[in-house]
């Protein structure tokens, strides 16, 4: 039997039994759509995170307190308070490590800001004067604090864009005294509008000198983390190891002792995150594949029913000269046609849902890319074809084994 006749015949059988064909392919439609959506959403999320990391800059190095090994992140990142990283470490990095452009230490706390009768809750950051260079940002109004003001624990504050608006509405905040918790600070500047970076809205924070944060607000003598900006991403590997050696030396760590800090750069972070996202994505695809397995069993079930319904037809085809192989190919072609059509519909539905996800994410303010890779479409087709073939074999071989005389007599 010619291939074109086989394909025509398959479509004619599907047309004749539209509802049954649709139900046969439904499991495949859902399974393929799920795979497409998961792969697309995974790629979108991955791109979002990578873009955000890139927007921070690929020439940034982060130093976290506490040891880290291959098994996990440093303890400080898990919420454990580690006090080994100091303000002076940041100063030393700025002074001694080559290719370093700017360094800032960070302390964070939550405070209630008040001015006159207005109160706003915000996160305050104790940072160094190089913060502007490290974060690649700028002051929109007034100025940032100086190194001297930092060293002197001056009570000055630079407000995030939204905080300034919420606290002062239309009035000029400059030179006003506000209270952070119970401490007075003078507003010397307002940051430009910065938006969301990482998972934080930078317009909802306020910035005070690092020393003021430690001594006045928190009463501590350590920093939460340090960020270092290097002149070029080409030098980031070298700078990372220089910082490590410097800090080991400063912390008097013997050779046998592991680091009590952790140095990470954005390039490594992007690599690590991409690996994690890939694993997660394929894990989810594996779960979605279970629905394809169930869909495949559905195909087999309905094809078996179809074979039983068409015993006489099989007998007739044999009587007019169909070989067993012809019968087998015919039923295989039918199951593959059903699953391939299901695959096409599934890909279309999956693409549509992925489009909706991207549209909603963008509406919510995320820079979400709609990514439907050719690989996922090829995978969808491939899986649909294989499912049709694998789960069609048993019904097809059953059909091919009928004895034509018995088949013609079948009631």
């Amino acid at each position: 039997m010619k291939l074109t006749d086989t394909i025509k015949l398959s479509f004619s059988v599907l047309r004749t039994n539209k509802v049954r064909s649709f139900l046969t392919g439904l499991g495949i439609i859902i399974g393929i759509a799920a795979v497409i959506v998961i792969m697309s959403a995974g790629a979108g999320a991955q791109s979002l995170i990578v873009n955000q990391l890139n927007s921070i800059g690929t020439n940034l190095i982060g130093v976290l307190p506490g040891a880290s090994d291959e098994n996990g992140p440093p303890a400080s990142a898990m919420g454990v308070i580690v006090t080994t990283l100091k303000y002076d470490d940041a100063l030393a990095i700025a002074k001694e490590v080559p290719n370093v452009v700017a360094v800032s230490s960070y302390n964070t706390g939550i405070g209630t800001l008040s001015w006159q009768n207005n109160n706003v809750d915000a996160t305050y950051y104790g940072v160094m004067s190089s913060y502007i260079q490290v974060e690649d940002t700028a002051v929109a109004q007034g100025r940032f604090f100086t190194d001297d003001e930092d060293q002197a624990s001056s009570r000055v504050v630079v407000l995030g864009y939204h905080v300034a608006q919420d606290l002062f509405q239309d009035q000029n905040p400059l030179n006003q005294k506000i209270k952070i918790n119970k401490e007075f600070f003078e507003v010397i500047g307002v940051m430009e509008k910065r938006g969301v970076s990482g998972f934080q809205n930078n317009d909802n924070i306020v910035l005070i000198p690092s020393q003021a944060a430690q001594k006045i607000m928190l009463g501590i003598n350590y920093v939460n983390f340090i960020r270092v900006k290097v002149n070029s991403s080409d030098n980031i590997g070298r700078a990372t190891s220089d910082i490590r050696l410097l800090l080991r030396d400063r912390h008097n760590l013997q050779e046998s002792k592991i680091d009590d800090f952790n140095v990470r750069n954005t390039v490594d972070a992007i690599k690590t995150l991409s690996t994690i996202m890939d694993s997660l994505k394929f894990f989810l695809v594996a779960i979605a594949s279970i629905s394809l397995l169930v869909g495949g069993i559905g195909v087999m079930n309905i094809m078996l029913a179809a074979v039983n319904d068409r015993v006489r037809e099989i007998g007739l085809r044999q009587a007019v000269g169909a070989r067993r192989l012809d019968i087998m190919i015919q039923f295989l072609a039918e199951s593959v046609t059903v699953t391939l059509l299901g695959g096409i519909i599934g890909i279309a539905i999956g693409a549509f849902i992925s489009f909706l996800v991207a549209a909603i994410a963008r509406y919510l303010g995320y820079n979400w890319d709609l990514i439907i890779s050719p690989l996922s479409i090829a995978l969808g087709f491939g899986v649909a074809f294989v499912v049709g073939l694998v789960f069609g074999i048993y019904p097809a071989s059953k059909a091919a084994k009928f004895n034509s005389i018995e088949a013609l007599r079948y009631e």
């Binding site: 007739l316 009587a319 000269g321 169909a322 070989r323 012809d326």
Partner: protein, 239 residues
């Protein structure tokens, strides 16, 4: 020129769970090209089994079957399928048309499995021979019983078969439609087609030119209609 069909001491038995059931006990006869033979016999006599063997739907247990002089007693399933496709046409009592399929596509069915050229022409010619051109695009469920059987006859003709086997072709038809079908078969025979008719009705069998009667798996009579002669065509008369 060899006989179209020649069987020698053809025996058939069915084995089911080690129980052997003999059906045909050693038949020998010939069918020449262009003959119209009716195989008659009561129900259970073995006439349908004989037709299935002669039509390559089944195989014999022992004996010999020569088709156009070639020994076809021991062919494999694919070879049997090929011969059915190229040499044989069947007309069944229950028509066996494909449901929800047009007359054209039903008639074309055997050609799907052959390499014949000009298939469209062959299909239209076969439909013309049974006078159904006006119903060529009708679906099988829209046809009367007589029309369905004419479609089945066209399907048996489409591959230019050497022989047409008709198994109780009038069994599901009223007498008028039945007669019309038998007249078509007669006309086809007049045009040179060899026809083997299986029936238990003498009224239907009278259209044939020779009658082979089978009783209990043996040929009881083999005679030419009207002259009631036996053995003229190589058959044996057993009573």
């Amino acid at each position: 020129m060899p006989a179209l069909i020649e069987v020698k001491d053809l025996k058939k038995e069915y084995v089911n769970d080690e129980v052997v059931t003999p059906v045909l006990f050693g038949l020998s006869f010939k069918v020449e090209p262009g003959e119209f033979v009716a195989i008659m016999g009561p129900s259970g006599s073995g006439k349908s089994t004989l037709m299935h063997i002669l039509g390559f739907l089944d195989t014999l247990t022992s004996g010999q079957y020569f088709f156009k002089g070639r020994d076809v007693s021991n062919l494999d399933l694919d070879e049997l399928a090929r011969i059915r496709n190229e040499e044989v046409g069947f007309v069944f009592q229950a028509f066996y048309l494909l449901p929800k399929t047009t007359v054209y596509d039903n008639v074309k069915l055997p050609l799907l499995y052959s390499n014949a050229k000009n298939q469209d022409e062959l299909v239209r010619q076969a439909i013309k021979e049974v006078n159904l051109e006006h119903r060529i695009h009708a679906f099988s469920n829209q046809l009367s019983g007589g029309e369905k059987q004419r479609v089945a006859i066209a399907r048996a003709l489409v591959n230019n078969s050497s022989i047409i086997f008709a198994d109780e072709p009038t069994g599901n038809l009223d007498s008028k439609s039945g007669n019309a079908i038998m007249e078509i078969l007669e006309d086809l025979n007049d045009d040179g087609h060899t026809i083997i008719l299986v029936t238990h009705e003498s009224d239907t069998a009278r259209h044939a030119k020779r009658i082979i009667k089978i009783v209990d798996g043996l040929i009881s009579e083999n005679y030419v209609v009207d002259q009631r002669r036996s053995a003229k065509n190589g058959g044996e008369l057993r009573k």
